[in-house]
Symmetry: C2
Subunit: 424 residues, 2 copies
C-alpha cells in the first residue's frame, strides 16, 4: 500500500463537534491519516493540494445503488404508483447480473461527486457488494428483507444477507440488516430481525414513516404510529438507522431520541415523490442524530450529496421562513460526522490521527466557490459536486484530477445501454 | 462572422408551448439559426454534437452580477441585517472599477453553467456593461434607481442609465429601467420611471413583495399591498418584470395577471434570506408568466441556473406535498421560453428558423445524466450545471469543451483576490 504526504491543502475536520479549517500537512500511512512526518526509511508520494480543500469523504446514508439505471425513468408520478407500478415491475424482470452494472453506475456518480461511503439497501444477491469492492468505495450493504417469518418465507433473502457478509466483509465493507418497511414485513419478521441484529452485533436499517399512507395504514392496523409500533416491539436502538421519517406524528420524535436511533433524511426524494418535508428543525433541536441520504436515483434523480446538502438547508430555511434554520455547519456535520456516529464507526467521518484516509479534494478555484469567503458555507450553498477533483478511499486514490481509477466508464455505459434497451 | 454546421446533436426546442427533442442538423449562419443547408459558396465549420443535447441558452432573469465577489460573505443572517448592515457598507466603499471584475466573475460562472443571457440590476456606472460586452454574454442591464424624484435626487443615476444605453446598446445588449424597490423609491419617482419607460419603449424591473417587512410597511404607509400600490399608480404593464413576489396577499396575483407583467422567482435567495416561498403553483395556474432568476451570489450563493431549476421544482413539490406540482417541462420553459416572452424578444429563447444562436451543449454522457431515460426531466432533476460542455452566444462560441474563450479566468481571480483583500 502506497503512502502519501499531502501538502498545501486546507484541511477540514471536526473538533469537539465544531468545524475547523486550517493549513496542515497530512501523512497517509498504510491507509490511515497521521500528522507525524515520515521517517527516512518510509517511502511515499507527495501530493500537492494547493488551492484544494481536503475534507472527510461524504457519507450517503441511504441509497439503492442498483436503481441508478432507472434515473428519470418514472418521474412526476405519486409514490404508490412509482413504487408498485413502475419500479417493482422493472425489478421483477431484471437479471441479477444487471445489478452489478447499475450499482457500478451509481458508484461512478458517487465518487465523482465526493461520496466515499454509502449505506445501501438492495435486491440482488452479491452484485452490489461485488461492484463496490471493485470500485473501491466504502460500503454498508443490506439485502432488503420482506415477508412473514425471517426463517420461513423471508429466509432465502436473510440467508443471502449472511452469505454476502461472510464473503465480502472487509476493511471497507460491512453489512446491515435491512427489513424493507413495516408494510412489507410482518411484526414477527421485524422482531426476529431485531433479535438477529443484537445477537450478531449488526446495524439495522428500515424505511419508516415515508408517506401519509404508511402512517394512516399503521394507525388503522396497529392503533399507533409506525415509530411507536417499532418502539413498542423493541426494534429501535442505537444501532438502528431510520430512513425518511417524514410523517412524524404524536411523540414520534421523542421516541426516536429516547431510543438513540439515527434518522436519515432524503429531502429530494421525499419532495419529488410528493411525500413532503421531514421536520428537521425539531429533530435537530431534540438532538436526534440526523444524517443525509440521496435515496435511489429513480426518486431523486442524482446521487450527488452536494446537491442534497444545499437543498436540505434551503428547503428548511424556506419552510421555516427562517434564515437561521439549519445553518451550513450543521449540514456538513450531518453529511459526515453524524453518519460515522450512526454507523458506530469512529474511524471514518473525520480527519484525525488514525482515521481511515477517506478524503475528498475540493477545488477551491472552481467558479462556483471563488472567492473563498467562507469555505464551510460554500460547501452547502455554492458547491454543485463538480468541484471534486480527487477522491481517496481507505488510503487509495479512486479518482485523481477527475480521472476515475477503479471504474471503466465506457464499459459501464456500454453495459447499461444494453440493460436499458432490454429492460426499461 | 463564422458559420457553423452542428451535426449529430439532440435538439431541444419549443413548439406550440410544448418541448420537443429530436435529432436535427443546425446551420448557424451570421449568428442566426437556420435549418437550410449551406450552399457551395458558403464557408462553415462542422461541429460534432454527438452525445450532446443542444438547447436554447438559459436566461437568468434576475441577478446582480457585481455582487459575485460577495459570495458566502454574509451567510445565515436575516434579510434586513444582510442588506443594510452587511451588503450596503461594502457597496458604499467599493471603487467603481472593481465592479468590472466582480461582474466578470459572475459571467464566468454563468457561462460555465449554461446561462447565455441575464437581466441585471447594478450599482456601478458602465462596469457591468463593459464586462458583459467583453465576455460576449447577452445582457439586459439596469442601473438601480432610488430617491424622491427621477429628475432631482435620482437624476445622476437615471442619467447614467441613459448614457450606458447610448454607449452600449447592441445586438446582444439592451437596457431596462430599474427602480430598486417601493421602499427605496418615492411614489413620484416610480411614476416618472413608468412614464419614461413608456415614452422610450423600454422594459422596466423592480424588486417587489420580497419580505414580510416590505408588505407590512406598505400596508401601513399606503393602506394597500405593494402590488396594489404599483397597480393603482399604473406602473404595471406587459413590459414590467417583477422580481421575487414572495409575499402575495389579497388579490395580488390577479392584479399581476391582469396587468400582463412577468414575475421572476428567486427560490434560493428567498429561502436563504428567510423570506419564504413564492406561491408558484397558484401563479402557474393563473397563467402568470413566471421566469427564473438566481438573484446575486451574495444571497444564493451561486449563479447556476440548473441548481435553481432543480431547487424550484423540488421546493414546490415538497411544499405542496404533490409530486405533480411544477413538473419538469414547466421548469425548462420558465428558464428559457417565459424569459424571452418577458423580455419581448422572440429572437431568443428557442431554436427555430431565424433565432439568435444562443446555444448550450449539454453532455448527455455526464455521470449525472446517464442513462438518458428522459432528457427534459434530467435537466430539472439530475443536472448540476457541470454537464455544460460548450456555449454559443449570438453565433459565437464563448466556451468550447469547457474552455472559456472570452474570459481570462486567472486574470479575473487575480483581480478579485486583490479586491476581496481590500474591501471585504
Amino acid at each position: 500500500m502506497k503512502n502519501y504526504k499531502i501538502i498545501n491543502g486546507v484541511i477540514l475536520s471536526f473538533r469537539d463537534d465544531a468545524l475547523v479549517t486550517e493549513k496542515k500537512t497530512l501523512y497517509i500511512r498504510e491507509g490511515k491519516i497521521s500528522f507525524s512526518p515520515f521517517t527516512d526509511s518510509e517511502q511515499y508520494e507527495t501530493v500537492d493540494a494547493g488551492h484544494m480543500l481536503v475534507m472527510p469523504g461524504l457519507i450517503n446514508m441511504h441509497t439503492h445503488a442498483y436503481m441508478t439505471m432507472m434515473r428519470n425513468y418514472a418521474d412526476d408520478v405519486p409514490f404508490q404508483e412509482w413504487l408498485f407500478n413502475r419500479v417493482m415491475p422493472v425489478e421483477d424482470n431484471l437479471p441479477v447480473e444487471a445489478a452489478y452494472w447499475t450499482s457500478m453506475l451509481g458508484f461512478l456518480e458517487m465518487i465523482t461527486t465526493g461520496t466515499t461511503c454509502f449505506v445501501d439497501m438492495h435486491m440482488y444477491h452479491r452484485q452490489s457488494a461485488l461492484a463496490a469492492k471493485e470500485a473501491g468505495i466504502r460500503a454498508y450493504i443490506g439485502r432488503g428483507l420482506v415477508g412473514e417469518d425471517l426463517f420461513g418465507d423471508g429466509y432465502s433473502r436473510y440467508k443471502q444477507a449472511l452469505e454476502e457478509m461472510e464473503e465480502f466483509r472487509s476493511d471497507t465493507m460491512d453489512f446491515i440488516l435491512s427489513p424493507h418497511a413495516i408494510y412489507t414485513c410482518s411484526e414477527k419478521l421485524l422482531g426476529q430481525t431485531a433479535e438477529a441484529a443484537r445477537e450478531k452485533g449488526m446495524l439495522k436499517q428500515i424505511h419508516l414513516s415515508e408517506s401519509v399512507t404508511e402512517v394512516e395504514d399503521c394507525l388503522k392496523n396497529h392503533g399507533k404510529t409506525p415509530v411507536a409500533y417499532l418502539y413498542d416491539m423493541g426494534f429501535l436502538d442505537e444501532k438502528t438507522i431510520l430512513a425518511h421519517c417524514v410523517q412524524m406524528r404524536e411523540n414520534d420524535m421523542e421516541l426516536i431520541r429516547e431510543s438513540g436511533a439515527s434518522v436519515v433524511t432524503n429531502v429530494a426524494s421525499n419532495a419529488k415523490l410528493g411525500n413532503g418535508i421531514a421536520p428537521l428543525c425539531q429533530m435537530k433541536d431534540l438532538g436526534i442524530n440526523v444524517c443525509i441520504g440521496t435515496d435511489g436515483a429513480a426518486s431523486n434523480n442524482t446521487l450527488n450529496m452536494f446537491r442534497e446538502m444545499g437543498l436540505l438547508s434551503l428547503m428548511h430555511k424556506a419552510y421555516a421562513r427562517d434564515c437561521l434554520a439549519i445553518p451550513s455547519d450543521y449540514i456538513v456535520k450531518a453529511a459526515v460526522l453524524h453518519a460515522s456516529r450512526a454507523l458506530k464507526n469512529p474511524a471514518i467521518g473525520n480527519i484525525e490521527e488514525g482515521s481511515a484516509a477517506d478524503l475528498v479534494f475540493v477545488d477551491l478555484n472552481a467558479p462556483s466557490l471563488f472567492p473563498n469567503n467562507n469555505i464551510v458555507s460554500s460547501l452547502c450553498y455554492s458547491a454543485n459536486g463538480s468541484e471534486v477533483d480527487s477522491v481517496m478511499i481507505n488510503g487509495t486514490f479512486v479518482m485523481r484530477k477527475h480521472e476515475l481509477l477503479t471504474i471503466d466508464r465506457e464499459r459501464v455505459y456500454y453495459e447499461i445501454g444494453k440493460i436499458v434497451n432490454n429492460h426499461l
